[in-house]
Subunit: 123 residues, 2 copies
DNA sequence: CAGTATCCTAGATGATACTG
DNA sequence: CAGTATCATCTAGGATACTG
């Protein structure tokens, strides 16, 4: 069969689909949302996003940078100092994420209950 | 506030974290968002959420049902007729998802470009 | 401090075939 | 039509150790 376009035209089913391809994963939304509160250094971010490993954090940051969501600034100092900021695009994404944050807060009890049940039948 | 359960106590870092634990995955947001446009039958949904397999669709629907996001109605007919609706909680979630949908539409070109680049360096 | 480099596993996803 | 049941795959994510 013939190869489809090199660019392949993902042809998103909708805007949500497109967004998900960017922020899918366990950490990206959290990183973006935390950075929305202001620029921050690597170590700070690492502490803020609880549970993330160096490997994952760096990997996600690089992707976000390539995606134009985050900007990395290396101050070329010793000891190293690097900070991360949202680009304007990143800020707009963070704003779009805000309602999910609110929803989670509003329904935190329900969410916790659901997760507890999942534990139950996976044991 | 005090800990409720000493055992699991997920202790979300924020509302966004909580939300993500519910809708993580490739399909759930799309399912919820499509159902927001009205109740629909299994087959319809299957066609709407492009690329999903029976296995995944059913699995995600069951989880969403257990989570109180979706309601399943079996009309007990032959041939089978089953439809799926959002619960009020589901609707509120869909509303929280809407901005992501808009963001994706607004930035679809940028997103497509990013995905194309990913293809490039993964080959 | 801010990363790299390996190795490894669980769980998420996919393909295919079958059924009431 | 609306699912189940298996098997195969894949890759996101985690553990650990090391470095400029």
């Amino acid at each position: 069969m013939a190869d489809i376009e090199p660019t392949s035209a993902p042809a998103f089913t909708c805007g949500l689909d497109a967004t998900l391809r960017i922020i899918a994963g366990k950490w990206k939304p959290l990183i973006v949302y935390f950075l929305a509160q202001g620029p921050c250094r690597y170590g700070e971010l690492r502490r803020a996003v609880r549970g993330v490993s160096d490997k994952m954090l760096i990997q996600q940051l690089k992707e976000l940078e390539a995606e134009g969501i985050v900007r990395r600034t290396d101050h070329k100092e010793v000891p190293p100092r690097v900070d991360y900021t949202l680009t304007p695009l990143g800020h707009s994404l963070a704003e779009a994420l805000a309602p999910l944050c609110v929803w989670g807060s509003d329904n935190m009890a329900a969410v916790a209950r659901v997760l507890a049940e999942r534990e139950t039948w996976s044991r």
